[in-house]
Structure formats: C-alpha cells, structure tokens
Assembly symmetry: C2
Homo-oligomer: 417 residues x 2
C-alpha cells in the first residue's frame, strides 16, 4: 500500500495534516506522525477537493477555436460536423490527453465525458491518471435501421469495460431526446438500469428543442422522456435551460441529476436563465460542467464557478444569489453525488482526489476570504499540485509528458482544418 502525508496544509481555514493510504483519505488531523512513502510539505498552502467536470466532450479540445462568432447552424454545418467526420481514433486519443492535461492543470480530477472512439478516450484518461465516466454514445438520428448494430457494439464495449481500471467507469451516452429514436432510448435505458449504470444525456438545451418536442409529442422534452419511462436517479441531464415548474417537479420526483454549463450556454446563445434556485429548492442535485472546447473553448472549472455565480446574481438581480459555500459544492461534492462515488469531499474515507492551491500570489492578497479569492479573483494558474486516486498527477504545476501532448495536438489538428 502506497501512502502520502501532506503536512501543514490549510483545509477550511485551519492548518492540518492529511494522510492518504492507497486511494483513500485515511486521516485528517493536526500533527500526524506516520512514515509515509511520500511527504508533501503544504507550507501553509490550501487544499480543496478535486473539481468534478460533469459534462464535457474531452476529445473536442483538439477543435478549440475552430468556429468562432458563428450562428448555431453555420457553426454546426460548416465547422463541427465536417470536422468530426475527419476525426480519427488517434485524434481522439491525443485530444483526450490534451483535455486531461488541461483539466489537471486547472484542478479537475474527475470528468463525465461523452464522445466517440471510446477505447481511445479511455486509454488516454487512464494514462493521465484521471477519474472518468466514459459512455458508449448513441446517436441514431431517429433512424432505426442500424439499431441492431448499435446494440451489439454497446454490449461488446460493455464487456470490454470489465478490463478498465477502477477509475474509469462505463456509462451510456444518449445524445438527446430529439436525436435518438424512441425504441433506442428505451433499450439503452433498460440496458443501463440492469447493470446499475449512468445514462448521460443532453436535455432541454435550446428553446427550439423544447418547442419541437411540444409540436411533435405534445409535451416538453422532459415529459417526453417520462412517457418513455427513462427518467430516474441514474440519469445525468446536461443543460436543462428551458424548464418550466412542471418539468422541475417531475425531475425532482425522479431524482434526475442536473448539470449546468454556463460558458457554453452563453457562447452559443442557448440561454442563460438557468433556474438554479428552483432546482435546488425542489431537492435536485445540481452540478457544473464546461461542455466541450468546440463550444466553450476551455475546461476550466474555477472559471465555470465564477461565471455561474455572476450570471445567477445578474439575471436574478440579487447579489446574494448562489453564495460561495453553495457554489463550491456544485463543482465538488454534488458531482460526486451525481456520479454515485465518494469524491468531492475532503473527509476520512473519501477518495483521495485533492488539489493544492498556491495562495502566495497577488490574486490571494489580501487573503480575507479564501473561497472568494479562489473563485472570483484567481485563475486556474493557482492550482499547484493535483492528487487523484491517491496518485500525484501534477506537482508544482509540472506534468510528465506535457510537451509531447502539446506537440502531438499541434501536429494532428492540422488534418482537421
């Protein structure tokens, strides 16, 4: 069993030591005396839980900046779709490595993905040492002629996932209620339920989607999924921007997990009046994501927390909205809760996913309020050291193999243009 002892680190405004054994937080106490394999001197720096990015398309990091300032149609038809057709397995592998590099450097230790070429994405995430949920993506564009092939591949991939490391978990990715046929949604949901797996879906991202659902099915996107019987506590629904009170009540009844992605929502102008208070008050678990880099350009969860709170305060017209303690929980413990794993919390018995923040900088001066400084003043360059599953992924901002990843990404993207 490997062990790491972090000495003199500030946790919740108190100086303490943290002992990690294997992949778990073993003990948190002042002055721990233990002969650990590795000792990190916190030197009065601060520690936070590893951030959880609950909605992304990691490999799209290779398409960063490919379509800017375009209408949604132009962006999809002239940039995203033609580019995706050129993506190879090798590109997904290096694109996912690039994404992991960026996530680690900005304090994220766990992500909930949704993309193609699954084995290559998993290999990349695994090699980078991150924790991830990797879905088999189903997007049949309402065409049922390929259903048997999709089912076969999904089952085959599920079998292969038995060999993945414990950090990477298989899931089902349903693109969206409007892009997957009714029978396939039902089949995939049952497939997941039988195996106690998560289903990751885009839901109610645009007003247009909801309007079309009303026209086609007579009900909202959310109620359409209810009619199919697939709403449950294992569903992770990304976006959820266009929800009325009835939708929210229904989601609460089914305990669906909600993921808000403000930077993407603003940048491609899907909407911004995310009804955080109503979701929270209905008892729903809300977490945050960055979405993919083709829409929102980076995978920075610290920045995501800031934009989330600013926009909630702004559109509600009240500076008391989404206070700091609640805000940090959306990017940490609520992610863990949604995924059903013990991460996002620094307590004994939880997974050892920790981020050390360097507070010796202008952004943390004066250090009256650590969380305010972290979220509203600093940027992710304050992330100094990252531990995931009891292993050090970055120390003093250095990650092994960084330059090779940048070099490969800079070489491969050229074939996409």
């Amino acid at each position: 069993m490997k062990s790491i002892l972090i000495k003199n680190i500030v946790l919740n405004n108190k100086l303490t030591d943290i002992l990690i054994k294997d992949n778990l937080i073993d003990k948190i106490s002042e002055d721990i005396d233990f002969q650990a394999d590795r000792i990190i001197n916190g030197n009065g720096r601060s520690v936070i839980p590893g951030l959880v990015n609950m909605h992304t398309h990691a490999a799209m990091t290779l398409m960063r900046g490919i379509g800017e300032d375009l209408s949604l149609t132009e962006w999809l038809e002239s940039k995203i779709w033609p580019t995706e057709r050129k993506l190879t397995d090798e590109m997904v592998y290096w694109g996912t490595k690039l994404a992991c590099l960026e996530m680690i450097k900005s304090g994220t230790t766990c992500f909930n993905d949704q993309y193609w070429s699954l084995p290559y994405a998993v290999q990349a995430a695994d090699e980078m040492g991150m924790r991830s949920f990797q879905p088999y993506v189903i997007l049949d564009l309402l065409d049922e002629s390929n259903s048997e092939k999709i089912k076969y591949e999904c089952e085959k991939m599920y079998e292969l996932s038995g060999k993945w490391s414990s950090r990477n978990k298989f899931a089902i990715g349903l693109h969206a209620p409007y892009s997957v046929s009714r029978n396939m949604i039902v089949w995939a949901s049952e497939f997941a339920q039988k195996r106690d797996m998560l289903v990751h879906i885009h839901l109610s991202e645009t007003k247009g989607e909801n309007d079309r659902s009303l026209a086609m099915h007579g009900v909202s996107s959310t109620y359409y999924l209810e009619q199919l019987g697939v709403l449950n506590s294992k569903m992770i629904a990304a976006h959820c921007l266009w929800m009325d009170d009835a939708d929210i009540d229904l989601l609460a009844k089914r305990d669906v997990k909600i993921v808000h992605n403000i930077n993407s929502n603003l940048k491609i102008a899907s909407g911004y009046k995310f009804r955080y208070n109503e979701f929270r008050d209905a008892g729903l678990t809300v977490s945050l994501g960055t979405d993919g880099c083709a829409s929102s350009n980076n995978l920075d969860m610290i920045e995501t927390m800031k934009t989330t709170a600013l926009v909630q305060k702004g559109w509600r017209g009240d500076p008391r909205e989404l206070p700091l303690d609640e805000l940090i929980s959306l990017a940490t413990v609520n992610g863990g809760k949604s995924l059903g794993i013990k991460c996002g919390v620094i307590e004994e018995g939880y997974l050892a996913d920790l981020v050390i923040i360097d507070t010796n900088s202008v952004a943390f001066t004066p250090n009256i309020n650590f969380l305010a400084n972290l979220i509203y003043s600093a940027n992710s360059s304050c992330v100094d050291t990252v531990i995931c599953d009891g292993k050090i992924l970055m120390e003093n901002r250095i990650i092994e193999g960084e330059q090779e990843i940048l070099r490969m990404a800079n070489k491969l993207y050229m074939d996409l243009l």
Copy 2:
C-alpha cells in the same frame, strides 16, 4: 535615448520584429538590424497592445473579498463605507501598488482610476511604471457647505500635478450625478474644460439611480447632465446600463465616452443588458473596465473581455454578437481613443505599451485562432512580458518588488477588518 528590439514575435498572425526607441514604437518590420540597448527574443511568442482598464478604484484592491454575497445596502453600509473610513494614505499607496502589480501581471499597461489620497496613488502608479489617469475625486453628497474647500483643494492638486511624470495625468472625478451637487458638477466640468482635462463619472449604474433622477429632476441621469451642460467628448462615463434610445442619441451627439464593467455589474447585480450594439451603431466609443476589487474582486482585463462577449451573446440570444476583432478593440484602442492618447495600437509612432503572450501552453493548443485562445481559452497567466512607455515592467512574469508588495498588503489590510 533607450531602445528595445523585439525579434521574432507574432503580430496579427505574422512573424516580425519591433523596434522601440524611447517611449515610442519606432519601426515594425521583418528582420530589423539595429544595435538596440536591449534585445528580447520573441521566440515565436505573440504580442498584443497593452490592455487599457478604463474604470477602476485601484486602492480598493486592499479590500478584496471583504464583503461577499451581500445585498447592495448591506455591502455598502456594513462593509465598504466603514472600511473606507479606516483607509490611510499608506494603505492607498500600498493598495495601489498591489493593483498595479495585478494589472501588469494580467497585461494591463494603462488605467483610468478614481480614488482618494491622490498623491499616494500617483506615487504608487508612477513607481510601478504604469500609465494612468488620476482624478481628483469630488463627492459632496449634495452638501454645498464645503464647496470652497473642495475647489481650493482641487486647484492645489492640479498645480501639484504639473510635477507628475508624463505617464500620469490629472483628471476630474465626479462620483455620480446623484451624489454631487448641481453647482459643483458645473464648476468641476468648467474647471476641466478650461484645462482640456477628462472628467470621469459613474452614470446610470442602477435602475434605482435612473428612477430617482426621473422623480427628482423629471429626466434621466443622462438628460440631467445635459441640462447642466456638462456632457462632452472629454467625459468618461462608467457603467451606462440603464439607457433608453433617447439617452444613447444624446450621448452620441455629445460624443461621451462609454465604459462597460460587466463583472462588477453582474456581481453586485446592477444590471447586465448593456446595449453595446446600440452604443456602437450610434458611433460611440465603448471601452471596458474592471471596476474596483471590492465589487468585482480582480483587475483582469482578459477575463473581462471574455465575460463581456459571453454576456452580450447570451442576453441577445445570438452567438454572432461582439466578434473577436471588435472585442479586443474595446480593451485596447478604444481605451486609448477615449483617453485621447496614442496607446492600444501596435503601429509605428504609437506609445510603446506592449504585452508578450506565451503561447506554448495547453490553452493555446491547438493555435487555430490566437484571439479566441487568448480571450476564451487562456487566462492571464499567459502574459509573459509587459512593456509600458518603452520600459520593461515585467519579464518572464517577474516583477521587481512583488514579494514586498504582497507582504505590505497582507500586513495593512488587517487594520481594515
């Protein structure tokens, strides 16, 4: 005459050399052969104009994080006002140094300030090597009993400003139309006009301000200033959130300069539907500011550009709003235009205010679109080297005296709590 030669630097996607003589950009060309006092090898990094922060209260950086998640009234009455009463000249000096340190580290070379203890703020900005506009602040709370004293002090400060370096310029700061008496606004405006100086004012920041103006004067805040005859091309109006078409037409007729401060506007929930398109289409010069750190926590103009564009795209519901070329101009050349100085542009004959961006990082990989990467993907830690007025203020992220500033700020703020 001092000279700096920057070799192999990317300017507008082309590799070039830049020669600086004294405080001006002397020559931009491939392969300049000149025996400069100092040669910087760009090594393929990129250069942008120094950013211009058009509205801040620099010394309030010492109050960063002092009041979070509070209503506006509670924030002002329980935090800001009591704290400001304890501020000493020494605190303003070190608070302004802290602000300058932060601005330089995030690529800002010029700022338009508004705060107390003017000589101490000027001394700090001057020692840090930044370019600034430093106003004598007038805030009489509609009480005319001190008018003669204010006028006397303003004139005295104006005389003293004759000894300031050419980088720091004197201006008039009028707090706001609702907080300065009618006669004082008129006097200050005439004082400034006679001396060809700028007047920096808060205008139409909240709906309440505009509503009160309508109730008290029968017209909007903007029309009230028109009645006083003080709207002109030398007025820098910060915020301008609650403007109707008639207000915008009037501002355009008078060529008032408009400053948008989105992070502050969102965080203290003043409003967010800044009518950028209407201001631009009316021919107005719009620039960006951070406001002070008590409201928006940092002085980061790169982040400000991002939030500005995201929110314009979001509230207008169109991803084509505020495209990148226009966005960068708001933080550079439009600041220079508003201030009436030749900064914010990298062309021969302009002031040598330049920022070198390190693009060898994950945020700039792939580097399909430099501006998109700078604004939407990177954070200000990409700022590598900063030159202002032909002098190097930061090189490889190192600023002389940084640790002393952090130490003094961390010592002094304790007396504010």
